[in-house]
Amino acid sequence: MMDSSEAVFDGLKDAGIDLIVSVPCVNLSKILNMIDEDEDIIHIPVTREEEGIGICAGAYLGGKKPAILMQNSGLGNSINALKSLTELYEMPLLMIMSHRGTEGENICGQVPMGESTPLILEAMDFQFFKPGTPEGAYEDILNAWDLSVEEGKPVSVLLEIKYW
């Protein structure tokens, strides 16, 4: 069995992702450390997720393959940019989200946004994957990036609490 964080990192590497913006989640901390140690990935922590969507767009214009790592709460902070920048200009973007408020959540404040996250993505007409295992996550990340390039739209990989 692969390690859940290593599977995500390997997926990012093998998808060719070379610029990552992030707002941390406790469940992403190991991956963020691995990204910081990787010399071939530019990592830019951001103050708010929406800003990260702009950075990813600029990086894509400059030839990078961008991804954002964040909690699902960050989706709410990014909605207009994802539509009026990423989708408008038909740019790819891989979104790796720690999906809080799912089965096993112990912080009640995470639940409302957690429950609405898949519905918001559906309403935005953005595709997403929900891997249940590290092997699945690795495959889903590769497929999500390919699909994002093909569609010219953001594609998400939601990592629920039980994934870790």
């Binding site: 530019i42 830019i44 708010r48 929406e50 800003e51 702009g54 600029g58 214009l61 030839g63 009026s84």
Partner: protein, 178 residues
């Protein structure tokens, strides 16, 4: 003095730099003044000009990137001052045309009227925070630090037409030109 004249002044110093331009009238006026493949016109996502410029500058360290932003847009994405400063991309020059107004929506006042944006950027840490009239823009663009420049004007829009390029066309020709 209005925004359009500021854009004319800025473009006098632009040769082969990559220019990212703020949404609305700023992009329309730039398109009308000097359309070029190396201009990226924002059609949506108010506030993100400096973020797009940062991503571009980090992805293309050998290109000079100039962002033409506005005071209302800066106020919408103040966190970007922190992120740009902390990353200090040496090839990024961030110009804010400060007309104290939300120009594209009817010139409503912005809070920039009660702020000195040069001081705001200095407060964050930018040592290279200047008023446009104090500096030689070309020298700043070529300098090895990220710079923040405020160009103060009054409010007012010109008759610049709506940009008749498809967003994907703007993207493609920009990427092809890099």
């Amino acid at each position: 003095m209005v925004r359009r004249e500021a854009i004319v002044d800025i473009m006098r110093c632009i040769d082969d730099e990559l220019v990212v331009c703020n949404i609305g009238f700023p992009s329309r006026e730039l398109y009308d003044i000097e359309d070029r493949e190396r201009n990226f016109y924002m059609i949506g996502s108010m506030g993100l000009a400096s973020s797009i410029g940062l991503g571009l500058a980090l992805a293309k360290p050998d290109e000079d990137v100039v962002v033409i932003d506005g005071d209302g847009s800066l106020l919408m994405n103040m966190g970007s001052l922190v992120t740009v400063f902390a990353n200090n991309p040496k090839n990024l020059t961030w110009i804010v045309i400060d007309n104290g107004a939300y120009g594209s929506t009817g010139n409503q006042d912005t809070y920039a009227q009660v702020l000195d944006l040069v001081d705001v950027a200095r407060g964050v840490g930018f040592e290279n925070s200047y008023r446009f009239e104090e500096v030689d823009l070309k020298e700043i663009i070529k300098s090895d630090e990220a710079s923040f420049i405020v160009y103060e004007t009054g409010p007012g829009n010109s008759k610049a037409p709506i940009i008749d390029l498809d967003p994907v066309e703007i993207r493609d020709r920009f990427m092809d030109a890099i």
